[in-house]
Symmetry: C2
Subunit: 113 residues, 2 copies
DNA sequence: TCGTCATGTCGGGAAAAGACGAAACGAAGT
DNA sequence: ACTTCGTTTCGTCTTTTCCCGACATGACGA
């Protein structure tokens, strides 16, 4: 079950998606459950539409947002469920790296030897 | 409303440190609370000593490891306390992006009940 | 059908990251 | 002091990322 050896590919996409200031900025736009089109994201971040589309694709691969088509628009929104899942995966990975000995907060799911 | 702030600098360092396959690999070496020198990390990851040193510096900046000098050696180990803190910060950031309305599953992922 | 508009895809160029070897630094031991 | 060994810093190269403009795709309205 536990495949904590390397890091799961999905978690890797999650981390890489989040490890960019621009994409962090994009994620902030979705605060409060906002739905935004590619063009809106582009404008609010000062990016070209193509760049916004690319970055949103990366965020979608990372499980951070979902997209639905509405006419010729595509509405993006945050994906809390998947985000929570990736966060748990990340937690599990870190729990392996952390000494599961003393009362440390980052170890509570994976114990193995 | 929730602060539409980009993201804490420390959390950014944390994410960037983790968003690298080799650094993830390095972190795995510290499983079980192991203490490793730069040379050991280098050898086990198939890296040059200088590269290992650089990557460990990034991990230290991200709060993932701590270093103590022991003679001419430098022993690195995981830093569970700081990791847990950064994880909580990350979770807080993501909670802002996530709609706090529906099953906001991403606002409880890290808690260590 | 045709034109338009929003999005996605493709190439390219600038910037950053990743890894290396050579050399500098620091802490023992001879 | 000198030598040795582990670590760090520095310069360089290669690879990847980031953003762009130009073009292709797909959907709607005339």
């Amino acid at each position: 079950m536990t495949t904590p050896q390397p890091l799961d590919g999905t978690t890797q996409d999650f981390l890489k998606a989040l490890a960019s200031e621009t994409r962090q900025q994009i994620m902030m736009l979705f605060a409060g459950g906002a739905e935004l089109t590619v063009g809106e994201v582009a404008e609010r971040c000062g990016l070209g539409p193509s760049t916004a589309s690319e970055q949103l694709t990366i965020l979608r691969r990372g499980g951070l947002v979902t997209a639905t088509r509405d006419g010729k628009l595509v509405r993006y929104r945050a994906d809390p469920t998947t985000i929570a899942g990736r966060l748990v995966e990340l937690q599990g990975y870190l729990a392996v790296c952390c000494p599961p000995a003393t009362g440390n907060a980052c170890s509570h799911a994976v114990q193995d030897d």
